[in-house]
């Protein structure tokens, strides 16, 4: 039912985690989750998920492809706390232990339409060199207590990270009722505005 005075706006995210570029590693899989503010609530779709493990192909040497679909709809009353996609990539190390290969986050694009984001990835560093060695040896690399910390700014100053490759995500964004609530998220196509009238 279409109401003239909506009280929430909707944000629909369709897209996929296309793949990653980790030149040194192979056999990786990716976990994703959304981080959003107090006023946001997912109405449909999966909030978090985990991809298959993928290996590098023999010919296209550098790309790891997941093509993992994302489909979520959020509702909100407030643009503050706009959803962010947090991805973390894992894979086996030399000894076969499952270790983290990268964390990264990006905001869901604001404007309706198609977007592609390349998320730079990073991992926390061990505090000192011996620890680096033992963590390598034992396969217990430093990890974030929660992957969601990469979506928040607070407290990051105590960590030290190393960059580690890229994950490519494509988004198709649709919004509903944002304009009616007074939020203009940029250039909307003229066709769009006409259809509203």
């Amino acid at each position: 039912m279409a109401t003239n005075s909506p009280s929430v706006f909707l944000l629909t995210v369709n897209g996929q985690i296309e793949g990653a570029n980790f030149p040194e590693y192979d056999n990786l899989y990716c976990k994703y989750c959304f981080v959003y503010g107090h006023d946001w609530a997912p109405t449909s779709g999966l909030e978090e998920g985990i991809t298959q493990i993928t290996c590098k192909g023999s010919h296209s040497s550098h790309k790891l492809i997941w093509n993992f679909p994302l489909e979520t709809t959020f509702k909100s009353t407030n643009p503050s706390g706009w959803p962010q996609l947090v991805v973390s990539v894992y894979g086996p190390d030399v000894f076969g232990n499952d270790v983290v290969r990268g964390y990264g986050a990006t905001h869901i694009p604001f404007t309706p339409g198609q977007h592609t984001r390349t998320i730079p990835m990073f991992v926390p560093e061990p505090t000192w060199r011996l620890q680096k060695f033992t963590s390598w040896l034992l396969g217990r690399r430093p990890e974030y207590t929660d992957p969601k910390v990469v979506a928040q700014g607070e407290g990051r100053e105590v960590t030290r990270v190393r960059s580690q490759g890229f994950v490519t995500v494509s988004f198709n964004i649709m919004t509903k009722d944002m304009k009616k609530l007074g939020y203009d998220t940029g250039p909307s196509s003229p066709a769009n505005t006409q259809s509203l009238k």
Binding site: S7, H38, P124, S135, L138, P142, E143, T145, E157, V158
Partner: protein, 1405 residues
């Protein structure tokens, strides 16, 4: 020229672009390089350029630019500097060098015009290193040639200065010391004199701001200082003259007047008649004279400055060291010679013309006079002659001989007027000569550079080691001196500044503001300057400061300088010149001067401003009314009064009436002010606005923003206010925010002070609860702040580094072996789990895991065989009993946050369940922060029930009933802070359990009896933890030394050392030596131990039985409600209250209970210690140890009032860390920590390490406890009232919990129970069930009763309700059930209340 034009046009086109930056940078670099390569070649080029004019060689650009226009160039430079700021090219230094480049004087054949323009650039020279170079010589020559015409006296060649290039350096800005920086800091220095009040109601405050003082002469001045001071003084004079620019003003005036007098017309004269009076020729002459004298003064001043500077330099050369940092530079401002000459000539001519005109006029006037006189004289002469003719023969002489005759006849004619002399014709030549002479004396020569002296204090002072001994002695003497200022108000010393040492520059900075709270009328304010040498001090000078006007308030007046001087005679045997001692700078000792100590004190006195911006000044009884006389008009202050100075209107009136000269530079500021005021604008703000565009960017006004409910909601959520901390879904639109949202919050704010007596039933406890609530809130707020500080471990999980050979996690190799460990071992061990900080959690994430393992000695059902005619189930039971089978079918029910889970039912009195229950946990308001979790007050109730199966009727219909047998309650805060609880607990069983008995197995296993007699009661083995494991909120590590303390520093250090050593050697043994009291101060622990009297009533209760008395006292202490500090103070710090505070608050944790109990025992003559240790389930806690006869030690749990023997099995105390009594603290250094396996003989130092020993003896610490405790009488009436209210509330609650069934109350049973309860209280809750049961049984024969009394200390109603609910009595669903409820409140002294609730259900059979 072309090049410059090109440049500037480019700037216009591409201004601000990158292109320009690059371009200009490159250009400048080139020029810089070119200019610096070689000055001579540059000069050469310059010459070439001059001759062959515009060439386009890049090397010449600079010369062209330089010559063209200085202003344009500087603008260009500024532009470059701005755009280049980030790039560093050219660097500031380069740019500086570029500008201060020392251009050579050009050859004399250069044309004059160019020379002058170039000289404009020459305001600065290279750094000192160039001094000795050839440039310096050239410079000197240059200077000489330039200044030759300036100096009139050829011998006094003032400008022969050796180091001229140094003198012509670019001047640095004088350093400014912000005196008023620390203005508000000293505001606490208040003084209140206490006699003769001025105005009793008045609250007046006088602010005396003592900024600092500068000596213009001090006995310790060296000669150089004397000269330096003189130079500074002259320079100051010069600056003020420069600022006033009187000469310029007068010159203008003269010009104006002369112009006016020339083209003066009648109309003008009429319109300006009012002011024309002053434009008369006399006025003009006066003005000119004034102007001349001013010019002369300027000139002399300049000369003097240069002279003194020369003297300083000579002195410095002579004495070979430098004492003052003064440096004088003479900046030359070159003038266009031809125009200057023209002007000069014009002026001279004008003056000459004027003078000529004047003298002509004068001559004319004189001549007219002369003519008149001559006429008179002739007349007289004629008369004489007539007389002569009459008297003598008339001889006709010719007219032309008249003169001669007259002269001849002068002699005899005595009384006649003398013949007037004709006035001299004015000598115009001499006038001109005079004018020129004067001009050359007092004015600058035409075309000569204007010299602007600039004084800086940037020079270096020679280091002390390089000075002669006498100078070193002087400097040492200086460093010994220090100064302070006493402030005398009405001749009473009210305050004094800190003592500040005298600096080498003889300036002292105090920068202190004294706020004088004054009570009596201000009469005098006197500042006395004292000088301190070592310990002696002497009065140097006094400064009387006028009492300020009432309108003079803090902050709106500048600092004033008051001069002071002293005529003390001081002489030294070192370089110091002394005071009142003749001193000569001449070589031959002539021209002696005597200098007195003097200086300037910079301070200001003003009235303070009150909170509502009202000056805190006493009212002036007689405000001086402005006198409207002509005299008063000229002085603004007498005209409008000082207070009027801040009134624009009045100033405006005054300005128009007094006909201020708007062109007088003196009046410039006031005219500016009036202009601003009259143009309708408000006075220019005196503050600096940081975000001056903020207002433009505000899209709504602040008030509107304030009104917005949605915004308020968002803001409160952001501030993490408890109610809104996790508020979800703030509505999108303003209108959708209901007021309801704020109701709770506003209610809380409003009712902060109102005490809810309904909730607490007792006003005293309500007050205490409110107080604790406030403390808790403030602590929680602190935690919210601290939550935003993160540690690495909060964010990153990292494997512990395996320590090699350490005691902890083992050797690296062992860790490697772990790799080979089986994934699922057969006998798994509990592993340390990952700790989770509670920041990303939400509802449902946290679970409470409760592992119920087994129970011992559950009471069994009492066989009811002795009564015939029982129902079927009793027969079954009977048969059970006979068969020796099931006597009880216990199961465990755990309730937490109203979630109830239960285990399966087991059989027998020693059941084994081994089951894990998972209870969800939700934090208040969905806030999972550490602070919030710590303040969770919920408790886990673990209840043991007996499942009873009834079979009713012929048709088999089983009905299951559960009968409560006992419970354990564990606060969530304990689980949270300990992270796990593992052990065997004693179950709280009711004193009377109808239908059950404990004495189960008589004779079955007799060997056990001895042990069992010691361990009376029911026990349950549990393991409780939280999943995921939460990090206990101890992120705020407020160390003890952060709190202030009144303890001795040595003691604190020793205690810190003691605790550190203890923690290192035995990390798991708690050791406390210092604690924090309620005021937040650190106190040594032994101060808390002191014998204190228990209430007399308790001692009187059992006069002959000391054991009973002891038990009663322990019971009394245990009846004071427990409130863990962790709950009340969120674990930030463990605050200890003293016993009287504890008894007033009626709440405290184990430590307070233990201290009180220990003190009672001590006063009862026992040997008692405080045990600091760990126990289950409390964790770190305090118990009491007493030594009975024959060295039996008893361990008392102060919160339950129970005592245990040293060797008792189920003593909750697990670890003994240290013992404390009034004299000492002992730390346990034995092998074991369990009380069973250790010795309590503290005299053995190999087992107990004492804090105070022979090496560090007890310093005799006095106790913080009161001498005696005073108890309030018991209030029986209040207790009875409370009893009724509790009963009423509980009845309502039980009916509320049974919404579907009617709840009937059996009054008969209730009264019976009610009579029974006081007996229970008297017996101290110990078993007296047998008689009671029989009594009940006989009374209520055919009813099946199950019920039990609950006992607890009274704190508030909520725990009572919770306890009743957890027993589940209300769950009985039989249709014919009746209930009986009795409440009894027993009052103990000091409002300590013991509450009994007897709840029973009766089923008619």
């Amino acid at each position: 020229m072309l090049c410059l034009l090109g440049l500037s046009s480019r700037i216009q086109h591409t201004s601000g672009s990158q292109h320009l930056d690059d371009f200009v940078t490159r250009r400048l670099e080139e020029k810089l390089r070119a200019a610096r390569v070689n000055t001579t070649s540059f000069l050469h080029t310059l010459g070439q350029v001059q001759r062959s004019s515009k060439t386009s060689k890049t090397g010449n650009h600079i010369a062209i630019i330089l010559r063209t226009n200085c202003v344009v160039f500087i603008c260009l430079f500024i532009l470059i500097m701005q755009t280049q700021a980030g790039k560093g090219l050219p660097t500031a230094e380069e740019a500086y060098n570029f500008f201060t480049f020392n251009f050579e004087p050009e050859p004399q054949d250069e044309s004059e015009k160019i020379s002058r323009k170039r000289q404009k650039k020459k305001k600065a020279a290279e750094e000192d290193r160039d001094e000795e170079g050839g440039e310096g010589v050239e410079e000197q020559e240059d200077a000489e040639s330039e200044e030759a015409p300036l100096v009139r006296d050829e011998e006094e060649d003032l400008f022969v200065i050796e180091q001229s290039s140094q003198d012509f350096l670019e001047v640095k800005k004088a350093e400014y010391i912000g005196y008023r920086k620390r203005v508000q800091q000293e505001s606490e220095l208040l003084f209140t004199p206490s006699f003769r009040t001025a105005d009793p109601e008045g609250d007046y405050q006088l602010d005396v701001d003592v900024s600092g003082l500068i000596f213009s002469h001090h006995p310790l001045f060296s000669r150089e200082h004397v000269l330096g001071a003189r130079l500074a003084q002259l320079y100051d004079q010069h600056l003020t003259r420069q600022h006033n620019n009187l000469t310029g003003h007068l010159t203008d005036k003269v010009n104006f007047i002369s112009r006016l007098s020339v083209g003066q017309s009648l109309t003008q004269a009429i319109t300006m008649s009012s002011i024309f009076v002053c434009f008369s020729p006399e006025c003009r002459r006066n003005t000119r004279q004034l102007r001349d004298s001013e010019q002369e003064k300027d000139r002399t001043l300049l000369k003097n400055i240069v002279k003194v500077w020369k003297e300083i330099k000579a002195l410095r050369d002579f004495q070979k060291f430098t004492n003052t940092p003064y440096k004088l530079y003479l900046r030359r401002e070159n003038v266009d010679r031809s125009s200057d000459e023209r002007e000069y000539e014009d002026e001279i001519l004008a003056e000459v013309v004027e003078l000529e005109a004047e003298s002509e006029e004068d001559y004319q006037r004189k001549f007219a006079e002369y003519k008149k006189q001559l006429e008179e004289w002739k007349l007289w002469r004629r008369k004489q002659r007539k007389k002569k003719k009459k008297g003598q023969a008339q001889d006709d002489t010719e007219e032309e001989d008249e003169d001669q005759e007259g002269s001849e006849s002068e002699g005899p004619v005595e009384e006649g007027p003398p013949k007037p002399e004709p006035p001299e014709k004015p000598d115009f030549d001499s006038i001109e000569q005079q004018v020129r002479e004067k001009a050359s004396r007092i004015r600058r020569k035409p075309g000569e550079a204007i010299l602007i002296p600039e004084l800086s204090a940037s020079g270096n002072i020679t280091a002390s080691e390089l000075c002669p001994r006498a100078e070193i002695a002087r400097r040492e003497d200086v460093s010994r001196r220090s100064l302070f200022i006493k402030i005398l108000y009405n001749d009473k010393e009210v305050s004094r500044t800190d003592s500040r040492s005298l600096n080498t520059d003889f300036r002292v900075h105090f920068g202190q503001i004294f706020n004088l709270k004054i009570v009596n009328c201000p009469q005098s304010i006197n500042l006395q300057v004292f000088e301190e040498i070592g310990s002696s001090c002497s009065l140097l000078a006094q400064v009387f400061v006028p009492v300020p006007e009432p309108s003079v308030v803090m902050g709106n007046i500048p600092l004033e300088e008051f001069e002071f001087s002293s005529n003390q005679r001081v002489m030294f045997d070192h370089e110091g010149v002394g005071s009142d001692v003749p001193l000569s700078f001449e070589a031959d000792g002539s021209n002696k001067q005597t200098l007195l100590t003097s200086g300037k004190l910079s301070c200001c006195v003003s009235w303070g401003i009150g909170e509502d911006d009202v000056p805190l000044a006493p009212p002036v009884s007689q405000q001086p009314v402005g006198i409207h006389s002509g005299l008063g008009r000229l002085d603004a202050v007498t005209y409008i009064g000082a207070s009027g100075l801040y009134d624009m209107k009045k100033i405006g009136e005054w300005a128009t009436q007094s006909r201020l000269d708007p062109n007088d530079p003196k009046n410039a500021s006031i005219m500016q002010l009036l202009k601003v005021a009259s143009s309708g604008e408000v006075t220019a703000p005196e503050y600096f606005r940081l975000e001056q565009l903020q207002e433009e960017f505000n899209f709504v006004t602040d008030e509107e923003l304030e009104r917005s409910k949605r915004f308020r909601l968002l803001r409160l959520r952001n501030q993490e206010v408890a109610e809104f901390r996790n508020y979800k879904g703030v509505p999108a639109l303003e209108r959708e925010v209901t007021d309801k949202v704020f109701q709770d919050y506003e209610k809380r704010l409003k009712e902060g002070e109102i005490i809810d007596t309904k909730e607490h039933l007792d006003s005293h406890r309500a007050l205490v609860a409110k107080y604790l609530q406030k403390i808790r809130e403030s602590v929680i707020n602190r935690f919210i702040l601290a939550k935003h500080h993160y540690l690495l471990s909060d964010l990153v999980v990292e494997e512990e580094i395996p320590s090699i050979g350490g005691a902890g996690s083992g050797i690296l190799g062992i860790n490697l072996f772990k790799l080979a460990e089986p994934k699922r071992p057969l006998k798994p061990q509990r592993k340390e789990r990952k700790k989770v900080t509670a920041q990303n959690l939400s509802d449902g994430d946290i679970k409470l895991l409760i592992n119920i393992i087994r129970a011992f000695e559950v009471p069994v059902r009492r066989p009811q065989t002795n009564k015939p005619g029982q129902s079927s189930q009793s027969a079954i039971q009977g048969s059970d009993w006979l068969l020796g089978q099931v006597q009880v079918r216990p199961f465990v029910e755990v309730s937490f946050q109203r979630t109830v889970l239960q285990t399966t039912t087991a059989d027998g009195p020693n059941p084994c369940w081994n089951e894990e229950l998972q209870l969800p946990f939700s934090a208040p308001n969905g806030d999972y922060s550490a602070a919030s979790l710590q303040s969770v007050k919920d408790e886990v109730f673990i209840n043991i029930f007996d499942e009873v199966v009834y079979e009713t009727g012929v048709v088999i219909h089983t009905r299951v009933e559960k009968h409560w047998l006992g419970s354990v309650k564990i606060p969530f805060s304990t689980i949270y802070s300990q992270s796990r609880i593992d052990g065997t607990f004693k179950v709280n069983t009711p004193a009377v359990l109808l239908g059950y008995s404990k004495e189960l197995s008589h004779g079955t296993n007799g060997g056990y009896d001895t042990l069992r007699s010691l361990s009376e009661g029911v026990f349950i083995t549990l393991f409780i933890t939280i999943d995921p494991q939460l990090v206990p909120g101890e992120s705020i590590r407020e160390k003890v030394n952060h709190f202030d303390s009144q303890e001795d520093e040595h003691l604190l250090q020793a205690s810190e050392r003691f605790e550190r050593d203890a923690a290192q050697a035995y990390p798991d043994r708690p050791c406390i030596t210092t604690i924090i009291d309620l005021n937040g101060k650190t106190v040594f622990i032994t101060r808390y131990i002191r014998p204190l009297n228990p209430p007399q009533e308790l001692l009187d209760a059992f006069p002959n039985n000391p054991q009973e008395t002891t038990a009663l006292v322990a019971r009394f202490v245990s009846l004071i409600p427990s409130l863990p500090d962790r709950v009340s103070f969120s674990g930030a710090c463990d605050l200890w209250s003293t016993c009287d505070q504890f008894l007033t608050l009626l709440a405290g944790d184990e430590e307070e209970h233990a201290v009180l109990l220990c003190n009672y025992f001590l006063s009862m003559g026992k040997k008692a210690w405080l045990i600091i240790g760990t126990a289950i389930p409390e964790g770190p806690t305090a118990y009491v140890l007493t030594c009975e006869q024959n060295h039996n030690y008893l361990i008392w749990n102060p919160s339950s009032g129970q005592c245990y023997g040293q060797h008792e099995t189920f003593c909750p105390l697990q670890t003994v860390g240290s013992l404390v009594n009034a004299d000492n603290v002992w730390f346990n250094i034995q092998e074991y920590t369990s009380p069973m396996t250790m010795s309590f003989d503290v005299t053995k130092t190999n087992l107990w390490k004492p804090f105070f020993s022979r090496t560090f003896s007890h310093p005799g610490l006095s106790s913080v406890q009161p001498d005696e405790l005073v108890y309030r009488r018991t209030d029986k009436a209040a207790a009875a009232e409370l009893q009724d209210r509790i009963e009423k509330i509980l009845k309502e609650k039980i009916m509320e919990w049974r919404p579907r069934h009617p709840t009937r109350w059996n009054r008969y049973c209730t009264t019976t129970l009610k009579q029974f309860l006081p007996k229970l209280e008297l017996s101290g809750g110990r078993d007296m069930a047998e008689g009671h049961r029989h009594e009940l049984q006989s009374l209520l024969g055919d009813n099946r009763i199950s019920g039990f009394p609950l006992h607890m200390p009274f704190s508030e109603i909520r725990p009572i309700i919770e306890a009743v609910y957890s027993t589940g009595v209300h769950h009985v669903q039989a249709s014919n059930v009746e209930f009986a409820l009795a409440v009894y409140v027993h009052p103990y002294p000091n409002n300590v209340l013991s509450v009994w609730v007897y709840l029973a259900s009766l089923v008619r059979t």
